[in-house]
Amino acid sequence: MKDHAALSEAFNKDEQRVNWHDETLWWVRQKRDKASHQIPDWEELREAASQIKHNVLSDLGNYLEQFEKQAINNGISVHWAADAKEHNDIVHGILKRHGITQMVKSKSMLTEECHLNHFLEEQGINVVDSDLGELIVQLAKEPPSHIVLPCIHKKKEEIGDIFHEHLGSEKGESDPQILTETARIHLRNTFLTRRAALTGVNFAVAETGEFVVCTNEGNADMGAHLSDVHIASMGIEKLIPQRKHLSVFLRLLTRSATGQPITTYSSHFKRPRPGQEMHIVLVDNGRSIQLGREDFRNSLKCIRCGACMNTCPVYRRSGGHSYHTAVAGPIGSILAPNLDMKQYADLPFASTLCGSCTNVCPVKIDIHDQLYKWRQVIIKEGYGDKKKATAMQAMAYTLSSPKVYRIAGKAGRLVMKYAPFAVNNSLNPWYKQRDMPEPPKESFGEWYKKNRS
C-alpha cells in the first residue's frame, strides 16, 4: 500500500490543482481567523473547553452510566459497541428487525471509521448519504477527504459530471446553485421514502441524556424527523457533563470549522417523537485504549471541527486521501496509529511540526507535540523504515564525537565543492527541486580557531 509521501507525490503531479486546493482551504482558515478574532476572550474559551473535556475524560465511566440512565428514562434505546464490527452489527440488527432495506444517513465520521456503508451494502441494505458533500463522494465511490468538507478535493465540473451520470443533470452543468438544487430534489424524495435514518452526534449531555446534532443543510433533521427509526452513532468521548457546557462548545465549533458563528441547525434530541424509535449506539473502537495512553489521551477531546486540516500546510498540499484513513490531517495522524500502528506508521511523519494545528484547535489538543511523541513510539515499536534507521545511527555516531564530526564536515564540504554531482543528482530527493547550499571555504569552527583563539 502507498504511504503518505507516495500519495502526496501523486497529488502534486498537478501543481495547478494543488494551488487550487491550498487556496480553497486557506480561505476557510482565514474565515476562521476572522470569526475567532471577533471574540475577545477566544483563548479563555478554548481553555475552558479543553478543561471541560479533561473533566469528561477523567470521569468518563460515570458520565457514560449517567448518560445511559438518562437516555433510557427519556425513552431512547442505548447500545454498546466495543468495535466497528459490533457497531455495524447493531445497526444492521435494528434495520433487520424492522425489515428495512433502505436507510438515509447524515454525516457521521464514526460510520466512516467503521466502514458502515460498505458493510450494510454487503447485507443488501441501500444507504444514501444526505449531506451534499457526502453524497458527492458516495456517488464517486470515494471516501470523504475532509471531515467537515467531504468533497473539498473535487472541482465543480467533476461534480457536474457525477450528477449528470447519477442524477440526470444537464451535461456540462457546473453551477453550484443548480447542482445543489438537483441534489435537493433527488434527496427530498429519498427523505420521504426512508423509514430509517442514521445521524452522527456532535455532543451528548450526561446530565440530561440528550444529544445535539449540528448541520447547515438540515439533512440530519429531515432524515430523523421523517423516519420511523432514528439511530444515532457516537464515540464514547462525545459526552459533556452538563447542558450549560454546550454554550462553550457551540461557540467554538463552527467558528473554528468554517468561520460561521453557529451552524444553521443545532438540534437537541431528547426523546423520540410519539410512535418513533430512537437508538443510540455508544462506540469504543480503540478509544478506551487511547484514553490509557497518557501522551495521547488528549486527542479524545477532539470535537471534529477540521480547523487543524484547514491550517495544515501539508494537508492543504497533499489532500485528504493521502492520509489513507477516515479522519485525515493532523488530528487523524494522532488518532489513526492508535487503531493500527503498522498501517498508519507514516502519518505522524507527514508533518513539519510547525504547530499551527495546536494553535487553532478549539479544545487545545497538543497535536504537534503528540505527532513528535508518536514518532518516538513508532520507531521504538519497530515500525520505522530500516534504511532510515541505519542512516540515523550513522548520524548519531558522527554528531556524538567532535572529532568525527570535524572530519566528516570537511569531507562533506569538499565533496560538495569539487564534485557536485555526488550529491546534486536525482538520487538525492533534496536536489529534485532545490539546489544544495554553496559550500564555504571553511567552517565557523575553523574560522574561530584562526581569528579568536
Partner: protein, 199 residues
C-alpha cells in the same frame, strides 16, 4: 461480561485521575450590553448568515410582509395569523409526511441569540418536529425583548425547561460543499424571515 461492562471497565482502567470541570460562571454572569446594542448585533449577524430581519409593531403587521401565492400551503403556530395560515396543532401526532408540500411555516421562537442570530424553537412551537425543516420557506417571530447576548445567556434561559426536541435555527438551510460556494436552500427552507416584534 457484556460489551457494556467491558467498555466501562476498560474506560475506568484507562481514565486519568479526576479533574473537576472549570467554572463557566464568569461567562454566565457577564454584564450584558444595552438591549439596543444586543438587538443591533442580532440584526447584523442575521443578515450575514442570510436571514432577513423585519421589525414589526404587531403580529397583525406581519401579514403586510407576507407575499402569499394563491394555492400555496401555509402553516403557523401563531393564533393571530390563523386567518391567513392553517394551525399546525392538528399535525402534532400526524404522519410527518403530510407536511411534504408546505410552502411557508410561520412559527414563534422562544428567544434569539445576538452573537450568532440563532433562534430557539421548541417542539411545542413547531407543532411537529419536521415542519421548520421541510417547509420551502420559514418565518420565525421573536419579541425584541427576548434577544439575549450570547450562548451562555441562551442556555441559562433554557435551564429548567424540558423539551423532547428543540433546535437553534440560524438562517436558511445552506451548503458550501461545492468548491466553498455558498448556496442557500440545501435540504431545508430556502429562506428565513425573522419578524422582530418591537412592542
Amino acid at each position: 461480561m457484556t460489551t457494556r461492562e467491558k467498555i466501562l471497565a476498560n474506560v475506568r482502567k484507562s481514565q486519568p485521575p479526576l479533574v473537576t470541570a472549570p467554572d463557566i460562571f464568569l461567562w454566565e454572569n457577564r454584564q450584558q450590553a444595552e438591549a439596543s446594542t444586543v438587538l443591533e448585533t442580532f440584526k447584523t449577524v442575521a443578515g450575514n448568515v442570510g436571514s432577513k430581519v423585519i421589525s414589526v409593531e404587531s403580529i397583525a403587521d406581519i401579514k403586510n410582509h407576507l407575499n402569499i401565492l394563491p394555492g400555496t400551503r401555509i402553516l403557523t403556530s401563531v393564533p393571530e395569523l390563523f386567518d391567513v395560515a392553517d394551525d399546525v396543532a392538528p399535525y402534532q401526532n400526524a404522519n410527518p409526511h403530510q407536511l411534504e408540500n408546505v410552502e411557508l411555516a410561520i412559527l414563534q421562537a422562544e428567544f434569539g441569540v445576538a452573537e450568532n442570530s440563532a433562534l430557539w424553537v421548541t417542539e411545542k412551537q413547531m407543532g411537529t418536529r419536521v415542519l421548520p425543516f421541510i417547509c420551502q420557506h420559514l418565518a420565525l417571530v421573536v419579541n425584541a425583548g427576548d434577544i439575549v447576548a450570547d450562548m451562555h445567556a441562551a442556555y441559562q434561559r433554557t435551564q429548567g425547561s424540558d423539551h423532547s426536541f428543540a433546535t437553534f435555527i440560524a438562517g436558511p438551510s445552506k451548503t458550501a460543499d461545492i468548491e466553498q460556494s455558498l448556496v442557500l436552500g440545501a435540504h431545508g427552507p430556502r429562506s428565513l424571515n425573522i419578524f422582530v416584534l418591537t412592542t
